[in-house]
Symmetry: C2
Subunit: 218 residues, 2 copies
Amino acid sequence: MRISELAAATDTSVATLKYYLREGMLPPGAPVSQTRSEYGAEHVRRVGVIRALTDVAGLPVQRARAVLALIDHPGPDLFDELGRAIAQLPPTIDPDAPPPADPEGAYPRARAVIDALGQVWDPRYAAVAQLEQALEAAERAGLAMTPERLAAYAPAIRAIAEYDVSRIPADSSDAIGYAVLGTALYEPVIAALRRLAHQDVAARRLGSPELGGTAQAG
Amino acid sequence: MRISELAAATDTSVATLKYYLREGMLPPGAPVSQTRSEYGAEHVRRVGVIRALTDVAGLPVQRARAVLALIDHPGPDLFDELGRAIAQLPPTIDPDAPPPADPEGAYPRARAVIDALGQVWDPRYAAVAQLEQALEAAERAGLAMTPERLAAYAPAIRAIAEYDVSRIPADSSDAIGYAVLGTALYEPVIAALRRLAHQDVAARRLGSPELGGTAQAG
C-alpha cells in the first residue's frame, strides 16, 4: 500500500508517518519508484505499537523511540531488558532526580507491602517508587492501604500477573514488545473493567432502575 | 494550627492553600483574630482529598471542585451520584463531543466484553467509552483482548470490586468520597502491584540473580 493508504489504515496523518520514518521508528517501505514506497501489514502493526506507546502510555516520542530500540535490539539478559523497558513507562520517576541516599529505607510503605506479599524486593525497580507514591497519596487522603484490603487485592492481582507472564512469547524481541504493550495497554483496560464491575456490584447492592430491564442474572 | 502549619503538615504551599480557600474548596478556619484563623485535622484531611483529585487523579481544579461539590452535597439517589462523581475522573470523554448517534452500537468491543461478563450495560456510563478506547488501542497494537485473557482477568477484577463496594460507608457523602478516592487512588496502586507481581513471577520463571539472596519462598 502507499503511504496515504497506510495513513488511512492506521488513522494517522501522512505527516506523522513521515516523522516516524525520519526518526527511524518506522522502517522504510520497499521502494517501487523514486518517489514511491510500498508499505505492508508489518507497517500497520508497527504504527499501532508506536501509537500505543505515545497515545495510550503517554510516552514522549524520544522515550517511545528508546522502548522501540529495546524491542528491536534486545540485550542478552531478558529479565534485565524487561525491567529496563517497563521502567520507561509512566508514571516514571524523574530521571534527573538523584537516587535515594538510603534505597533500603526510602520506600517504607512499598517495602511493607512487598514484604507482606513475600515478593522480590529490588528498590531499583521503578514500580517500587511508583507504589510508594501511590500508597502515600492514599494515606494522605485518609484511605491508607490496610492489611485487609491488601489481602483482598493481592491474590487477584497475582492471578492477572500469572496469566500475563504465562503468555510471554519465547522470542526475546517479541517478549519485550509483549511485556511493554501488555503493561501499558492493559492498565487502562483493567481500570475500566474495575469501574464497570463497581457499577455492576453497586447496582445489585444499592438498587438501580436500569438493573430491572437489562441486566442478566449474575 | 496556623495556615503555615497546615502548609507544612500537607506539604502544600500557603499560596495554594489560599487559592483553595478562595475557590471554596477548603472551608475557612475558625477566626481567632482579624488576621489569623485556626485550622484543624479536618483541614489536613481535606487538603489530602483535594491533592488526591488534582495530583493523583490529574483533575483540572475546576473539575476537582465539581467532585467536591458532589461529595459535600450528595443528591437523593446514591447510585446516580456515584456514577456522576466517578465520571469526572480521567480518562474522561471530551465533554464537548456530541453523544454517539447510536449509543447501542457505538461501543462494540466494550459491549461484547460486558455481555460476556453478564454485567449491567449502560452506554451512558463513562467507563464504557473508556473500555472501548482501551480495547481498540490494544487491538491496533496487535494485542487484542481474547476470551482466554478475559476469563483470566474478570474474576480477579470482580473480586477487587466486590471488596471495594463492601467497604462503602453507609453515609451518602462519605460514600461518594470513598468511591471517588478509592477509584482514583487505587488505580495507580493496582497498576504498580501488577508490575511488581510481573517482576516477581518473571523472576521465578526466567531466573534472576536477585532472587537467590533476597526472595522468600513464594
